[in-house]
Every structure is written in C-alpha cells, then in structure tokens.
Symmetry: C2
Subunit: 302 residues, 2 copies
C-alpha cells in the first residue's frame, strides 16, 4: 500500500470514526437513577478505542450509491452497539473468559458479571432503538429501513453471530475440520460484517444485482478479516493489540493458522482480499475508500 493511499484511508477512517463517536455520545440514553451503573458499563466498553470498522462498512456501502452518508449515521451507530454487545458477552467467564480487551480490563472485570450481561443486553436493545429512530425514519424510506433492520437482526440471530459463537464454544479443545471452521467464522464474524456493508447499500436504494455482488464482497472481506484476527492472536504484539496474545492456542480454539498453518492462512487472506477488490472494480471511483480498506485489512498482518 502506497504511503499516499494509506494517509488518505487513515484520514477517511478518522473522520468517520469521529462522526460515529459523536453520534453515539449524543444519542446514548442518559442515566435515570439506578440505571447509571449499567449505562456506565456499556459506555466503558463502547468507548474503549474500537476501530468502528463495521459501522464504517455501512457508510461505505451507502457511499457506493449515494453521497450523503451522514443521513444513516444512526443506523451505523446501531451496528457498533451490536458489535460491542457481542464483545462484552464473549469475554464473560461462561464464554471465552477473557480478562482484557483493548488494553483495559474487560467489562465484567471492570464492573461485575451481572452488570456486564445487562450492559450487553441493553446495547443490543439500543441498536434496534437506533435502527428505528424517528430521525432515521425522517430521512430514509421506511420499507428500505425495515429491510435493513431485518437483514441485521437475522445476521446476529441463531444462525448468525449467536450460532457462530455457540459453535466456537462447542469446538473448544475439539478436533475440527476446515468445513467446521468455515461454518463458525462465517457466522461469528462474517454475517454481521457482510450485513453491515449491505445494509448501507439497501438504505441507499441499491439494486438487487448490486446487493448480490456486495454480499460476495462482504463475505470475502469478513473471512480475510477473521483470518487476520487469528494470525494477530498468534503473531501479534500484545501491547499493540491490548490483549494477551496466543489466547486461542491456550484455549485450543479452532483457527485458520491452527488448521492451515501461518503461510497458507496469509495466502488465503490475500486471495479473499483480491477477490473482493476485483468485484469492486466496476464501481469505479466511488469504491475507492472501500478498496483501500480492503487492502488495509490484509496489511494489518504483513
């Protein structure tokens, strides 16, 4: 990746991240008496330095077809709430049992388990509150909004993110094959990743044909992203990641490097990114930021 391109991407990401965080802050519920603790816990995790990739994918999906992506910022913010809820619950002792996240104690460590469960529950509810917010209803066609909500809800439900996390827990310490690994990753990361991109396109009134293309793009990028995540856990820098490395090894998790080896995993991620990029070519200039982001996903681990 050229230095000039990297600069351009980083400034785009920074700008969108700022908009997303300002909107989250502005619309987050204010504490009423005894809800203060659970709201603090949710905001502790929500504002802990996430990259905001998923909400940015929503904005990028929108920008492929329309310019004013600020109209759907609240929708993008809902997606980030869903992602944060999944991280809080994944870290719980009954799940992945991780004490650190982004260099800070995870939510149940900074607060307590009951509060962390409720913080995640509240964030999922808040996501759908944002998706159906009257400000969005004012600016977006209602039928398209309902379609996008339905897509995201399905992506995080039993055969989506929740099912993927279940599979991940069930396979801990067990011998799995490539098919099982693919099944889990597609659901645990892939479905919300893809739905984030597509939801933006739906909100921008993209045609069915384009939605189909973007579904393939999202899947490829989601898979690359997850492989890179697996590789970072194995090879990454603990300080930069903000959490202990090699945790997947310790938990005997089913990962790409564990099953394919490091080199083949890197090649697989590369291949998926190239696949996504080639599908995006036909969108010309409007796809520029998404193309740069695709390349960036791969660069994280090389």
């Amino acid at each position: 990746m050229k230095a000039k391109d990297l600069d351009k991407l980083l400034s785009y990401l920074e700008e969108k991240k700022k908009l997303i965080e300002e909107t989250l802050e502005k619309y987050f519920p204010k504490p009423e008496a005894l809800s203060e603790r659970v709201i603090s816990a949710a905001k502790y995790s929500l504002f802990s330095g996430g990259k905001r990739i998923r909400p940015i994918l929503c904005l990028l999906g929108y920008e492929l077809f329309q310019e004013d992506s600020e109209r759907v910022l609240l929708f993008a913010c809902g997606i980030e709430c869903l992602h944060t809820y999944s991280l809080i619950h994944d870290d719980l002792p009954a799940m992945d049992d991780d004490d650190f996240r982004r260099g800070k104690p995870s939510c149940h460590k900074a607060f307590d388990e009951g509060t962390a469960i409720l913080a995640g529950d509240g964030l999922q509810a808040l996501a759908f509150y944002f998706f159906s917010h009257k400000e969005l209803v004012k600016t977006v066609n209602s039928k398209r909004l309902l379609k996008a909500i339905n897509l995201i809800a399905d992506a995080v439900s039993f055969n989506g993110m929740v099912g993927g996390q279940m599979g991940d827990l069930l396979m801990e310490g067990k011998k799995g094959d490539k098919k099982v690994l693919k099944w889990i990753h597609e659901r645990k990361t892939g479905r919300l990743f893809t739905a984030s991109l597509i939801s933006g396109a739906i909100l921008a009134n993209a045609k069915r044909k384009d939605i189909k293309t973007l579904e393939r793009v999202g899947r490829a990028l989601g898979l690359a992203f997850q492989i890179v995540d697996d590789l970072l856990d194995l090879l990454g820098d603990e300080k930069k990641l903000g959490k202990p490395v090699k945790s997947d090894l310790k938990k005997k998790k089913l990962t790409y490097p564990a099953l394919y080896g490091v080199k083949a995993s890197q090649e697989l991620a590369r291949k998926e990114v190239e696949k996504a990029k080639s599908m995006l070519k036909s969108y010309g200039e409007r796809a520029e930021n998404l193309l740069l982001l695709s390349e960036f996903i791969y660069q994280r681990v090389n």
Copy 2:
C-alpha cells in the same frame, strides 16, 4: 369474577395462546449444524408453559381498534421472545441465581451458562427479526411498524427493562423506599407490559389520544401484575407456581409486601386494576376481553 366471564376469558386466552405458539413454532429458525444446541435451549425456555400475557396484550391493544389481529401475530411473537430472553438472563447465577422456572430446571441448569446467555441473546435478536419480518411489512403500514419497534426497543433498553433489572440487583439486601421500589417495578415489568399493549394499538392505527389513555391503562395493569407477582412469591403454592416460593425473602428483595405489608399490597393492586377498568369503559364492547383480563390479573392472588 363470574364463572361465565371466567370461562369466556379462559377460552379467549387459550385460543390466542395456541395461535401464538403455532406461529412461534412455524417461524422459529431451523438448526444449521452447530447452532442446534442454542436453538434447543431457546425453545426449551420459550415452550415451557408461559401464559403469553404480553403478546396477548399486544393483540388486545390491536383489537380495541381493528378486528383482524392475526395480521400482527408475528409482532406479538417477537414480544414473547423478548420476555423469554429476560427470564433466561434473570435466572443466571450472576443475576437472580434461580435454579427453577415454571417447574423445570432453568435454562442454564438444563444446558449451561454460556448456552443460556447465547439463547437469551439470540431470542432478543429474533424478536427484532420478527418485528421487521417481510410478512408483517406486507400487512402493516411501514411507518407504524417502525414506531412500534422503536417503542418496544426503548422499553427493553437501558432506562427500561435492563435498567430495572440493574436496579433490582443493586437493591438486593439494601434498605429501599417506596420511590425506589416504584422506579424498579415500572422498568423491570411495567415498561414492556405497557409497550406490549400500546404497540398493538399503534399497529392498528390508534389515535394519539387513545395511545395516551392506553399508556395509563398499561401502567396500572403492569403495576398490579407485579404486586400480584410479589404476593404470589410470598403466599403462593410452590407446585402451582413451578418455582420455590419465598425466594424474594431469602434474597432480601425489595417487594411490595415487604414494604407495604400484604393487606395494603392487595388493596394497591385492586386500586390499580379498578383504575385500568374505569379508563377502558369508554371503549365499550371492544374492550371486553381486556377488561376481563384486568380483573383476572387481580384474581390470581385472592
């Protein structure tokens, strides 16, 4: 309550319960490979003999203004998914730590904690999947549907159900006053109870004035329902309830009988039910089933 009225109500409730359960069964996601366990856990709790009061309130709210409430069955089913998710998470060791629910081991006892957390998470997502389902979009005005979704999402978010449960946990073993008790109950039970009734009315295109009236009706009934629930825990029959009684006492929970005494609590519930009934009078015959249900709520404990 006259025997004839009771028969009429029970047969209405039975009919609606059957429709709701058939719809839940029909639309519930089918297991794909590793999601089987979490889907089984969710269905274990969802089909464990609940009364389906909240989804029926949604249908009753609809029937005050339109006849064909079967059009909004999927919406009502989503509400039941939310209620069941809240029960599964409330029973967890980090929350109320209850081993039994409706005469059976609670979800985390029949399965395990990780699976129970995921089952609740999946049910919340499924609720919003149902709310935005294409079958509903076909039959209901999209703007009204979004308004109902937004109302329900708010009712179960940080200053609604989740906040109420946080307050309940925070006050365990502590000395609380009547104001705190009201704050908790309004959120823990009242908000979803009221939103269930109002959502039906919104879907049936009720006027703003009617929505305001029904908000007061819902609040009164929700409060009566919660007081009766507190009384049943203290005075009820363990076998009939399907869970150990006097659990609130053991956990030093803040309840109506604990703060007001049994007799004053019964009178308070009676007063709330009468308040609801008097507000419903102006709806004439269309409110008959809702009036009977209001009376029934109180009868459970007398």
